[in-house]
Symmetry: C2
Subunit: 102 residues, 2 copies
DNA sequence: CCATCATATTGATGGATGTCAATACATCGA
DNA sequence: TCGATGTATTGACATCCATCAATATGATGG
């Protein structure tokens, strides 16, 4: 996954495209179910998709949808292990976001 | 504005209410126009609502709506000076967000 | 008070998003 | 190859969100 986009918010005014890029990553984070998934995975070090419907009380398709949004945003990494999909948090990505916000 | 919500994502699993709270603040940030407003204000130190429609190519009601979302989320502070509304960035709030994400 | 200007609110509309049931796809063990 | 199981996709629906025109509210100077 390539670098996110831009210098800190207070360093230069965001271009339109940088604002779009950063907004798309923040939008991926800005949902309670997705935040909970990220925190579950961050705490355990990794997490299997098979456990998330129970842990979040959401259907399997809904979880699959949220996970793919997080992967697309570069916040989670996905690894296939046999039948199961395992996820880890991309800490570099979160640090990139923080580097822009603060 | 009270403290945001919770320990870092990787320290404990988010409760449902903490996830809602954090998501609401991130949602306020997760829009290109609002990010641009924040960066304009952060760079200038402050900003007048009267300038934003031109700077962002959005209508006055749209800007007003975005600004109130940022104020409600605690990301901007509003100050009335005569007829004009001036805004500053609440850096503490952004740092709270970063402290949770990283 | 009144006229004027800056900002907020209302109402309407098109578009995006979250959700689940049904179904398709992929992987493994037998 | 076949059945079983985990995950992704499709389709449908309800809800939320961004936007602007019109209007209301609020503040200032005369």
């Amino acid at each position: 996954m390539e670098r996110l986009c831009c210098p800190p918010l207070g360093a230069t005014t965001l271009t339109d495209t940088d604002a779009e890029t950063l907004a798309s990553v923040l939008k991926a984070l800005a949902h309670p179910v997705r935040l909970k998934l990220v925190s579950i995975i961050a705490n355990a070090g990794e997490g299997c998709a098979c456990d998330f419907p129970q842990l979040t009380d959401k259907s399997q398709p809904t979880i699959s949808h949220h996970l793919s949004q997080l992967v697309n945003a570069g916040i989670l990494d996905r690894e296939q292990r046999g039948k199961w999909a395992w996820f880890t948090v991309n800490k570099d990505r979160l640090e990139e976001v923080c580097a822009i916000l603060c």
